[in-house]
């Protein structure tokens, strides 16, 4: 059992987990979810946690999307997905990514990838807090991720 306590003074117990490399794409949103992911990323890095955010899809096992998926970002997301090696999973975080949220489809927006593709982790919220995102990732990894 590890403790993650840089940003949570009372500490947050975490089970021992497999390494998980996540490539994040902000697909067109207010970046609120991105800000919370950045907070989470700093905490994970400071705690030397096996879950980490990587700068290239070529070493990632999970593609994590935030934002409402603009038409400009759709081919970028597709390219990143194709560049990921081996078994890969798709995660969506935030209302916009899950189903478009307040930003449903129009000429510039496709309205979230969660409604268009099979996702393994879907966490609504506007935006979900870092501890909620981490809990969702840990929950997935300790159940589905081990299969």
């Amino acid at each position: 059992m590890a403790q993650l306590n840089l940003f949570w003074p009372e500490g947050m117990p975490l089970p021992r987990l497999e390494a998980l490399d996540i490539f994040h794409i902000e697909s067109g949103g207010c970046t609120g979810c991105g800000l919370e992911l950045a907070s989470l990323s700093r905490a994970l890095l400071a705690g030397s946690h096996p879950i980490r955010f990587v700068p290239t899809p070529r070493q990632a096992g999970m593609l994590l999307l935030t934002g409402s998926l603009t038409v400009g970002m759709a081919p970028v997301v597709e390219l990143a997905w194709q560049a990921m090696p081996g078994a890969r999973v798709l995660a969506v975080v935030g209302d916009c990514a899950v189903d478009g949220g307040l930003f449903g489809g129009n000429y510039a927006v496709l309205g979230g990838v969660g409604a268009r593709a099979r996702t393994r982790v879907a966490l609504p919220g506007c935006p979900p807090a870092p501890d909620e995102i981490l809990a969702a990732l840990v929950r997935w990894q300790t159940t589905e991720g081990k299969r």
Binding site: E26, T31, L35, A38, S39, M73, A74, F103, A108
Partner: protein
């Protein structure tokens, strides 16, 4: 000379919006001719499909000049105000209205939208370009011997997406072509026809790093448009939450820049302070990122606990010392990403980036130091318990203009309300000017420093693209 131009604008036909005047085409052209020698800063340019509006600042007073759009478009402002270039291209993309004498290259529409000119009355469907538009390299990139590197739109970071095409003849960047539109969500189209309360939800989500500024500017524009005074408690809450937002956004940028610059102590302290500020925000109004806190009128507690404030003040002093310590972050980023006062004036850049350019050469050290100073000022503001007085509306005849100081500079909102719904809306975000200035700011920089420079600028593509 600025007074002459302002007087010329004021001779136009007054409108329901206080400070906005409609000029005849000849007067508009005379205004452009006189702007060459005047120092009237341009803060924004937009269209409602019928007219084009240019927002200037005379002293502290906003002044809007409007001109009707003819079949040929309207005379461009970009020959005399470089900062108008991006806005003219955006107007062409969204409305199909060309600026005579300006560029018609796309800015937002990279060829993937299913319709052309989506805001125009008769927007036509287009097949779109599956691969998007191609870059046409200029002579600077050709001189670079074909050495071209891209940056964005997906770098695995946490910023809004945009793309930079960088030409490097050697170690330093010589040519920069920004490609925008990846973060465009069609907000102007979305807001049309919405009730103000629904519109406010979208406005709060323009840019999470400046959500309070956008909410305050929109609320002010709405109060001016509807003629209802803004209650003193709402004004005071806005000031307090604006200060909280400024602290949080500056800390986030300091944490990012410190981590990229290899200063772990600064990065950890800034990140820890940021998390404390977010927790305080959650305690104050139930939201870490301050969405939906201004409209409807806030009932939040406008007071940060003394102990929390004292902790932040102490940590801020420590962060300042760490930043300026020998071999600290200040020394590591000195001379990088210079945004001079001349560049700031040329592109209409205001806010802390412009202030940093005034206090030194305008490099990253000056910019981060300016952000540290603003954190200190905001903490002092919070300690002094901001008091607001009720804001009296101007106009009240269905059209209003409002602004608020955001972390990266002033944010402007203009809206027209008809039968209780938003009929037209515009938002001016400081990021558009920053994007246009990027070729100058990144000129000569090493490719490895691009991320660092962008982080310290506070540029938000989502605010620029809307």
């Amino acid at each position: 000379m600025s007074a002459d131009v302002a007087a010329l604008i004021r001779r136009g036909a007054p409108t329901p919006c206080a400070g906005r005047f409609v000029l005849e085409i000849e007067a508009w052209q005379a205004m452009i001719a006189r702007l060459r020698a005047a120092e009237l800063p341009l803060l924004g340019l937009w269209s409602d499909g019928v007219q084009v509006h240019a927002l200037f600042r005379q002293g502290q007073t906003p002044l809007v000049a409007s001109v009707g759009v003819s079949s040929e478009g309207y005379p461009a402002l970009s020959p005399v105000r470089a900062g108008a270039r991006g806005a003219e291209r955006i107007i062409h993309d969204l409305w199909g209205i060309p600026a005579t004498g300006g560029s018609r290259d796309p800015w937002l529409d990279q060829g993937r939208w299913p319709v052309a000119t989506p805001l125009a009355a008769h927007s036509a469907p287009t097949p779109g370009l599956p691969e998007g538009r191609e870059f046409i390299d200029g002579p600077a990139v050709m001189r670079a011997g074909g050495t071209v590197l891209g940056h964005g739109p997906a770098e695995g970071d946490f910023r809004a997406p945009f793309h930079l095409r960088l030409g490097l003849p050697g170690a330093g960047i010589e040519a920069v072509q920004p490609c925008m539109g990846y973060a465009h969500r069609g907000l102007a189209a979305r807001l049309r026809g919405l009730a103000p309360q629904q519109a406010a939800l979208l406005v709060a989500r323009i840019d999470a790093t400046a959500t309070v500024a956008h909410q305050r500017a929109f609320a002010r524009a709405l109060h001016h448009a509807t003629g209802t005074p803004m209650p003193a408690q709402g004004v005071a809450a806005g000031v307090m939450l604006g200060a909280m937002e400024r602290i949080a956004t500056h800390l986030d940028m300091l944490a990012q820049a410190s981590a990229m610059g290899g200063d772990g102590r600064c990065a950890t302290l800034a990140a820890t302070m940021l998390e404390q500020v977010r927790q305080i925000c959650r305690e104050l109004c139930g939201r870490r990122l301050l969405f939906d806190v201004i409209v409807p009128p806030a009932t939040v507690k406008v007071r940060v606990e003394d102990t929390q404030l004292a902790t932040l003040v102490g940590q801020h002093a420590l962060l300042h010392r760490l930043f300026w310590r020998p071999r600290g972050l200040a020394a590591r980023v000195r001379g990088k990403g210079v945004l001079s006062a001349i560049t700031a004036a040329r592109w209409g850049i205001l806010g802390c980036n412009a202030r940093a350019a005034q206090k030194g050469q305008g490099d990253m050290t000056d910019r981060l130091d300016a952000r540290l100073d603003e954190i200190g000022e905001s903490l002092s503001l919070l300690a002094a318990l901001p008091e607001g007085s009720a804001m009296a509306p101007e106009g009240g005849q269905g059209e209003g203009l409002g602004w608020a100081q955001g972390p990266a500079g002033p944010v402007w909102h203009w809206l027209r309300v008809e039968e209780g719904h938003v009929a037209a809306w515009w938002c001016g975000d400081p990021s558009l000017a920053l994007v246009q200035a990027l070729p100058t700011i990144l000129s000569g920089a090493a490719y490895e420093d691009v991320d660092l420079i962008l982080a310290a600028l506070g540029l938000s593509a989502t605010g620029a693209d809307l």
